[in-house]
């Protein structure tokens, strides 16, 4: 088991290095120069040279790459070229904000879709299945910004139940209940946008499991369909869900871009959008590196979890 985990970790490391090289290469190709951001046109040549030397920008590209990696490993992610703020400082404020929003929504979506998916799969072709499946299709088709605007208009403006903007009411930054009331609408939007595909996944996997021999055997022994569903089918349906959970790790960083923008949520999404609009390359690269690393780490984590739960997997890796 340990050997398998070690092997998978060792496989992930070169992938991470390759990704960092690609990201850095993109920075080098970009039309912006970091120096442009730090200097102003009325600075003298000498001042510009001094600034270049201070940031190591007079060195060849491969040296700069090592500086960059060294910086990233030590938590120094560089500076925004638009606001001059430190990126690691900005990220340390915004990533938690996004996680507060995305994590509850994702867990809620997961729980609800397992229940709905099981019900729909077990009652394939019946009314409940048609309703759930139909709503899922609708959910996939509705763009999340539109859903966000509609919910804002109804619950935020007309019914006046929830606040419209941001994470906090001005002057109540410390209040937990205030944070919760700001969370409801964006969380709902995110849950509804994560759910449809998960429902479909659980549903089709349930249908697949119900046609397996072991279900027929259980039926022959006279087990009730509810007990078959929850004691046997559920277990087999949930196993692959672990893979999905692992692969959705990057969503914690980039999963709520649109929703955050509409609700004015100060998370990674709004930060990323602003960086893209402003050609703020250091930020774009930092977020790209972060989310692509999370893809690899997520896959790694789900492989390892899977091998713990189902030891047969280990054998397949060898």
């Amino acid at each position: 088991m340990l050997k398998y985990i070690f092997k998978r970790v060792m496989q992930a490391i070169p992938m991470l290095i390759i990704i960092s090289i690609i990201c850095f290469g993109l920075i080098q190709l970009a039309p912006y120069d970091a120096v442009d951001a730090m200097t102003t046109p009325n600075m003298s040549e000498k001042t510009v040279e001094l600034i270049k030397a201070r940031y190591g920008l007079d060195q060849p590209a491969y040296m700069q790459y090592f500086y960059w990696i060294k910086g990233i490993l030590s938590g120094e992610w560089g500076y925004s070229i638009v606001t001059h703020e430190s990126i690691s400082k900005d990220l340390s404020v915004r990533i938690p904000n996004t996680i507060i929003l995305v994590l509850p929504a994702y867990i809620l979506a997961l729980v609800l879709s397992i229940i709905l998916g099981l019900v729909a799969g077990a009652r394939k072709g019946k009314l409940a299945d048609k309703i759930i499946d139909g709503l899922s299709s609708l959910g996939i088709a509705i763009p999340s910004f539109w859903m966000a605007m509609v919910l804002l208009f109804i619950f935020g403006y007309q019914l006046n139940i929830f606040p419209i903007l941001g994470m906090h009411t001005i002057g109540k930054e410390g209040s937990f209940s205030d944070l919760l009331s700001h969370l409801v609408l964006p969380t709902t939007v995110l849950t509804l946008s994560f759910m449809p595909e998960l429902v479909r996944y659980v549903r089709s996997s349930t249908i697949g499991q119900l046609s397996e021999d072991y279900v027929m055997v259980q039926k022959a022994y006279g087990a009730s369909s509810v007990s078959i569903l929850f004691n046997h089918v559920l277990r087999n349906v949930l196993l692959p869900v672990i893979t999905i959970v692992g692969m959705s790790l990057p969503m914690l960083v980039t999963g709520a871009v649109v929703t955050e923008t509409v609700f004015g949520w100060p998370g990674i999404g709004t930060y990323f959008i602003k960086a893209i609009q402003g050609f703020d390359y250091p930020i774009i690269m930092a977020i790209m590196l972060l989310s692509s690393s999370l893809v690899i780490i997520g896959n790694l984590a789900s492989d390892i979890l899977y091998s713990i739960i189902d030891p047969r997997i280990k054998g397949m890796g060898e």
Binding site: V82, E85, F162, L180
Partner: protein
């Protein structure tokens, strides 16, 4: 082993679900309560669609949101809003000598910095010196330079400062004002003001003190009880960052924010509103299409004129600003409020045949141009789209290059060929001399990289001319030449539409001014 794990997983998931479900039921009561409390009128929440950042200083901060933050925190000697409309702040008076070569400012004696230190002439001298230092890249440097010579700033006594000009300049009274004064005791010895960590905790003399900046969320100010013009009436002012105009409009209607500058297309939503009042006001802005003369494609004057003849100004403006309540057509480099404004210039009436003729005579066919503009600015989006259509009709194809305002600005400052034309605008002063930095050869704010020796010379003449009629003739000629050169196509003087909570009074006393919105926020009250 497998079954046990699955059971644990299910148990965990279900308990999380229950916890969340519990939370949701509590939230509704709390939300109702908090909405009632939002209405507490001791806070003025002004929604802005940009992030002023956590680093503001009076020398290098030059963008609208940064300057709005500066306005709340700092004070200038005086604000010049027109010949007979000067508002004094840190200065009690500013008097010119008879030969117009020295100006003497008498300062207020009762002013304290937010940290309790006394304000003196040293702060004023220090500020002007920092603004003049080339390596600081100060935004107002060019208005303190007169024919390549800087103004000399001297302390006479603790409350008197003397400005000596190297030569007569009729725009000097305006140019010397509008500069915010920074605390010497804080910034003294700072070598890099633009990136100084001190910018994160600004100390000023303005009506409000800096309290807190939350990245991407808000900037909070609290009132300065010791403000020299009387303590502000509203305890707290918050600039709240809202990127989505739709959400902001809804929040304004609901009262979650108290003011927001809306787009003309949203004006109809507030037509019958009792809670929100619309106040369109002229900022003296000139919105224009500029040519980037470092790009080879548009270096020929005929090509630029061809572009100008194929543009339909009315169509472009109506598309962006909806109704003439919210804009006027612009024809000159000066806004209509400026001294010596004239619209007696070439207006380039739409004429596609002429445009094609000009292109043919320039020997250009199949012209392809790139147009740079601010991607998240709805007015510029529409302007860009109509310009693209207009030029297509004249056989010129346009590629749209949208970007963020800051990035566009940074591009414009450098010599580049990323786009051949760009959309922009400026809000400058009243005296025509303040506009010279946009058009004079090699000026850092000359974003077109335009150069015409005749224009340079006329600007130099206009600055020292004491005779009113002669001065008028000079500036009228400048307006005509620049427009004729067609590097600059004026589009519009649009109004800023401030939608503000109807309960707020004192807006007239506070004064609606360009860029900062309020001249003195301390006068606002509920």
């Amino acid at each position: 082993m497998g079954r046990k794990n699955i059971n644990i997983l299910i148990a965990v998931l279900i308990s999380m679900f229950l916890v969340l479900a519990g939370c949701t039921s509590n939230e509704k009561d709390n939300a109702n309560k908090s909405n009632e409390e939002t209405a507490k009128p001791d806070t003025f929440i002004y929604g802005i669609d940009g992030d002023p950042g956590n680093a503001v200083n009076v020398i290098t901060t030059g963008d609208r949101y940064g300057l709005m933050e500066i306005k709340a925190l700092y004070s200038p000697l005086y604000m010049y809003n027109g010949k007979d409309n000067v508002e004094f702040f840190l200065a009690e008076s500013m008097t010119a000598s008879e030969d117009f070569l020295t100006y003497t400012a008498k300062l207020r004696k009762d002013v304290k910095w937010h940290d309790g230190e006394a304000f003196t002439a040293d702060d004023v001298v220090f500020t002007y010196e920092q603004m003049l230092k080339e390596e600081n890249g100060g935004w107002a440097r060019s208005q303190l330079i007169f024919n390549d010579q800087p103004v000399k700033v001297e302390k006479v006594d603790d409350y008197t400062v003397k400005f000596t000009l190297p030569e007569v300049s009729m725009g000097a009274f305006e140019g010397l004002g509008n500069i915010f004064i920074m605390p010497k005791h804080i910034y003294e010895g700072e070598t890099n003001i633009a990136n100084s960590p001190k910018n994160a905790t600004p100390v000023g003399t303005g009506p409000y003190k800096f309290k807190e900046y939350k990245a991407g969320e808000s900037v909070t100010f609290e009132k300065n009880e010791a403000y020299f013009l009387g303590a502000p009436k509203i305890d707290k002012v918050v600039y709240r960052i809202i990127m989505d105009a739709n959400s902001a409009t809804m929040a304004l209607q609901k009262g979650e924010i108290n003011a927001f500058a809306i787009q003309p297309s949203d004006a109809s939503k507030f037509k019958d509103s009792k809670n929100v009042t619309l106040m369109p006001y002229d900022e003296g802005r000139v919105g224009y299409l500029g040519f980037n003369l470092s790009s080879p494609a548009v270096q020929s004057k005929e090509v630029r004129q061809a572009v100008a003849y194929s543009l339909n100004r009315d169509e472009i403006n109506t598309a962006s600003y909806v109704s003439s309540d919210f804009y006027d057509n612009a024809y000159s480099i000066l806004p209509s409020k400026a001294t010596y404004y004239t619209d007696n210039v070439e207006k380039f009436k739409l004429d596609n045949d002429k445009s094609k003729e000009l292109l043919a005579s320039a020997g250009v066919s199949d012209l392809k141009l790139k147009l740079g503009f601010t991607a998240n600015n709805p007015a510029q989006q529409k302007q860009a789209a109509v310009i693209q259509q207009n030029l297509q009709a004249a056989g010129i194809s346009v590629e749209l290059v949208g970007m963020d305002a800051t990035a566009l600005f940074q591009k414009m400052e450098s010599e580049h060929t990323d786009f051949d034309m760009y959309l922009s605008g400026y809000i400058m002063g009243i005296d025509p001399d303040t506009f010279n930095s946009l058009f004079v050869t090699d000026s850092p704010s000359n974003f077109m990289h335009y150069s015409n020796p005749k224009v340079d010379e006329l600007f130099n003449q206009g600055r020292v001319e004491k005779d009113d009629a002669k001065r008028q003739a000079i500036y009228e000629e400048i307006q005509q030449i620049v427009i004729e050169d067609a590097a600059f196509y004026p589009l519009v003087t649009n109004k800023r539409i401030l939608a503000i909570d109807s309960r707020i009074s004192g807006i007239e006393e506070a004064g609606l001014v360009p860029v900062y919105t309020f001249e003195d926020m301390s006068k606002l009250s509920y």
